[in-house]
């Protein structure tokens, strides 16, 4: 399960070496890029964990994009009208749980096609949030916490210890999901119902209830991802997810349906975003920013084509449970 694999280790080593060299070459810029990379990775990672939880329990969730958007929308306006960011965030989470519940109901109870259910969520969310969008409102910011002393460490300080609370929460959640999935009773049952639900059913595990719980839990994670977008943008914009919910699916696949795999993949995508932002900001190269803006999407297509072949999805993903 968690045996050490040489390839990721070598990759991590090489990245570290590259980071040190870059840091020696231009400390400030490198710090800006990696810090940005971690922030960019946050929503992708959370979205991927949403997809992972659902699919590991046998429900394909392609409605991550829409769930993120709904959560960001609710979070923004509730925070804006109440004037309290915590209430806004709770509102966003509640909204994403409702979206999760909808997906669970259509795919687990009604046994409808899960791709269609996810598509409905995406289309609905885009239309709904655009229609009810009100211009010119502001909301209180999501708190930012710089951890004293640690934040002043070179390189790792800005990378890990000077962020908004939702970025920390992403770091915490990925570790939690990993431990839960592989060490707990819930995790074992979750992995079982995504692979062979009747095997779980015939030993007394309630497949339906567990799928409901996990799809709603996944919705909540996508909700945190949506709020994370708010944290960075400080306000809601139409279609602000901008395909991140789909990139999250690529991140999930690239990470081979494993939490830490998803984290590695999210950081890779995040790094691209960080580099893009920095180049744009510096106007260092004479390359149109749109070109860099394109790279994550291009990479998504490549990842989906390549990793899709290699990653083995949970065997029962996409199939409603009909009983033993």
């Amino acid at each position: 399960m968690s045996t050490i694999k040489p390839i990721p280790l070598v990759l991590a080593g090489l990245s570290l070496l590259a980071a040190i060299l870059l840091y020696a070459w231009d400390g400030q810029q490198t710090e800006a890029v990696v810090s940005r990379a971690v922030v960019e990775a946050g929503p992708l990672l959370l979205g991927a964990l949403c997809g992972l939880l659902c699919e590991r329990s046998g429900v394909i969730n392609i409605g991550i994009e829409g769930t993120m958007l709904m959560s960001a929308f609710a979070g923004f306006f509730i925070a804006s009208y109440s004037g309290v960011i915590w209430i806004g965030m709770l509102g966003g989470l509640a909204m994403s749980a409702v979206v999760g519940l909808f997906l669970a109901w259509t795919s687990v109870t009604l046994k409808q096609d899960q791709i269609i259910a996810g598509t409905i969520i995406n289309i609905f969310a885009l239309g709904f949030t655009s229609f009810y969008y009100v211009q010119g409102r502001t909301m209180p910011g999501v708190p930012r916490v710089a951890i004293p002393v640690l934040k002043d460490l070179p390189f790792v300080g800005p990378m890990l210890f000077d962020h908004g609370i939702l970025t920390y929460s992403a770091m915490f959640i990925v570790v939690a999901v990993h431990l839960m999935l592989y060490r707990t009773r819930w995790g074992l049952r979750t992995r079982a119902i995504g692979e062979h639900p009747s095997a779980a059913d015939t030993v007394g595990v309630n497949v339906i209830t567990l799928r409901y719980r996990n799809v709603i839990l996944g919705g909540l994670l996508a909700g945190v991802a949506g709020l994370h977008l708010l944290q960075s943008a400080s306000s809601f914009q139409r279609g602000m997810t901008n395909g991140k919910g789909f990139i999250a699916l690529a991140v999930m696949l690239f990470g081979r349906y494993r939490p830490f795999g998803a984290m590695g993949a999210a950081l890779l995508f995040g790094l691209l975003g960080g580099i893009q932002a920095q180049l744009q900001f510096k106007q260092a190269l004479d390359i149109p920013p749109q070109f860099f803006g394109m790279i994550p999407y291009l990479l998504t297509i490549i990842v989906l084509a390549a990793a899709g072949l290699a990653a083995r999805p949970p065997a029962a993903a996409g199939t409603p449970y009909e009983g033993a």
């Binding site: 074992l188 095997a199 779980a200 015939t202 030993v203 007394g204 595990v205 009983g323 033993a324």
Partner: protein, 515 residues
């Protein structure tokens, strides 16, 4: 011994099908009862009601003398009923210990871990080892299930039930996928379990096993309780007749073969399996008109890949496959079928049928695009229906309906649909892979006679079977395969069970001759 179980008047209906009709079954502690019946007789349905998977429409279950209320498998397990299912209920990517513990995880009390349910896998593996020792079922707790041979997977299934403290064990066709040796081991384990007081309900189509291990048998036919008998007073013949309701010829009647020219020639064939390792490692043999060549061997010695290469489903690395002298190596399945090869595949659900299609549509899977079933690209539904109705009559597919989806049929009747389709077309070569797996005695007799009949009509038959009796009673010649090679070719008339058994296990031909 005390009465463990009494089922009274159990009834279950699925739409128009009365799967169980007022069925009674009794079982004492420490007793092994064989539950027999044709395909679709209602055996699985009956035990699934006992295990809480189906809710009975009527009837009562007394367990330990008490009226039992079984709402679901969880209830059944809690009361001490364990079941090994006809289709394995194991999660392939999980380990043996994880599979055995699923639903009964070891979660230490107290501490922060117990709140979120942190498991103690070390203790779990310990427990599996202990169980495995106690019952003599050897397994490696940390092995991943999908890497294990089916025989070992079967042991894991049994341990799963025993781990939950089963006092009543239901085994639904546990031997259908086992090798002869694995079967013998399983029967021994069953006997020793019964000696410790466990009551066992054993469903099988193999009468040899019934006679070897059971104390008593109960027979169902068409959902009805037909009767019970003491095993000691039964013979294969008497049991078969009770099941089918008429006399059954257990021995295949066949005259001598009159082989003609070669229909299939396989030359130094090499094929890889799904994981990319060499499965068929240089096989050569011929099958001639009017003869049955039996390929004997323990499963997993390249038979599956061989059949898939011949029928065009799998790519051949090197070597040649010739049909009537024409090189058809790596031809497409359509080309192979159009040339005149009928295929009864090993995995009927996956390769032989479209589960959601009706029986009628499944009857024309290989001919739907041809006259008279299609005219200018449009299906002629009338012609398909007429043809299908004729076939289900001739091949005795039950229930007699051509419109229901094939997935609602019992295993044996699904197999009859394939046999009907494949043997009714004009063919030159018939490739039959495990053609009677999970099929009842009456249907086995029927399928065997059909294969002999095809041979007598001058067709070539390639029979692949892990069932020694089947190989011996049908084959004119026997090729024994071991590790992807043909290790011996024997004359079907003189080959013995012992000789083939030894060769299958990797013994040399000279050893086999001595024994």
């Amino acid at each position: 011994m005390s009465r463990l179980l009494e089922m009274k008047g159990l009834t279950k209906r699925f739409g128009p099908v009365l799967a169980c009709d007022n069925v009674d079954l009794k079982l004492d502690a420490g007793e092994i009862v064989g539950l027999l019946g044709e395909n679709g007789a209602g055996k699985s349905t009956l035990v699934k009601m006992l295990f809480g998977i189906y809710e009975p429409d009527a009837g009562e279950i007394y367990f330990d003398g008490q009226l039992a209320d079984i709402e679901g498998p969880g209830d059944a397990i809690a009361q001490g009923i364990g079941m090994v299912h006809q289709h394995f209920q194991l999660v392939p990517p999980l380990t043996v210990a994880e599979n055995i513990m699923l639903g009964a995880e070891v979660v230490p009390e107290g501490g922060p871990g117990s709140v979120v349910g942190v498991m103690n896998m070390a203790a779990a593996e310990e427990r599996v080892l202990e169980l495995s020792k106690r019952f003599g079922l050897k397994v490696d707790p940390s092995a991943v299930v999908e890497d294990l041979p089916v025989g070992v997977q079967q042991r894991v299934e049994i341990l799963k039930a025993l781990n939950r403290g089963a006092r009543l064990l239901i085994l639904d066709e546990p031997t259908a996928v086992l090798t002869p040796k694995e079967t013998d081991e399983l029967l021994k384990v069953m006997r020793s379990l019964a000696d410790t007081g466990v009551g066992i309900i054993f469903i099988t189509h193999k009468l040899r096993e019934v006679l070897a291990v059971t104390d008593r048998v109960t027979v169902l036919r068409n959902g009805k309780y037909i009767g019970s008998a003491e095993t000691a007073e039964s013979t294969q013949q008497s049991l078969a007749e009770m099941m089918v309701g008429r006399s059954v010829v257990l021995r295949v009647e066949k005259g001598t073969a009159h082989p003609g020219s070669s229909v299939l020639e396989v030359r130094d064939l090499r094929v890889r399996d799904d994981r990319g390792s060499a499965a068929v490692q240089g096989m050569s043999f011929d099958v001639r008109e009017g003869e049955i060549l039996g390929i004997a061997g323990v499963e997993g010695n390249g038979q599956r890949e061989l059949v898939e290469a011949i029928t065009g489903i799998r790519h051949s690395e090197s070597g040649a496959i010739l049909f009537g002298g024409i090189d058809m190596t790596n031809a497409t399945p359509r080309e192979v079928s159009e040339w005149g090869v009928a295929h009864i595949p090993e995995n009927r659900e996956k390769d032989g049928l479209v589960d959601n299609y009706s029986v009628a549509d499944n009857m024309v899977l290989n001919t739907y695009f041809k006259e008279p079933f299609a005219s200018r690209g449009i299906r002629v539904v009338d012609a398909i229906r007429k043809w299908a109705s004729k076939l289900i009559e001739k091949f005795d597919v039950r229930p007699r309906t051509i419109t229901s989806p094939v997935k609602s049929l019992s295993g044996g009747n699904k197999q009859k649909v394939i046999v009907a389709r494949e043997l009714s077309a004009e063919n030159k070569l018939i490739v039959a892979s495990q053609p009677t797996r999970g099929v009842d005695v009456g249907s086995i007799e029927f399928i065997h006679n059909q294969l002999v009949h095809q041979r007598d009509k001058g067709r070539a038959v390639l029979l692949v079977s892990a069932e020694l009796d089947e190989i011996l009673s049908l084959s004119d010649r026997v090729a024994v395969v071991y590790e992807g090679r043909v290790v011996a070719e024997l004359d079907g008339a003189t080959a013995t069970r012992e000789e083939i058994g030894l060769l299958m296990a990797g013994g040399s031909a000279s050893e086999a001759a001595v024994s």
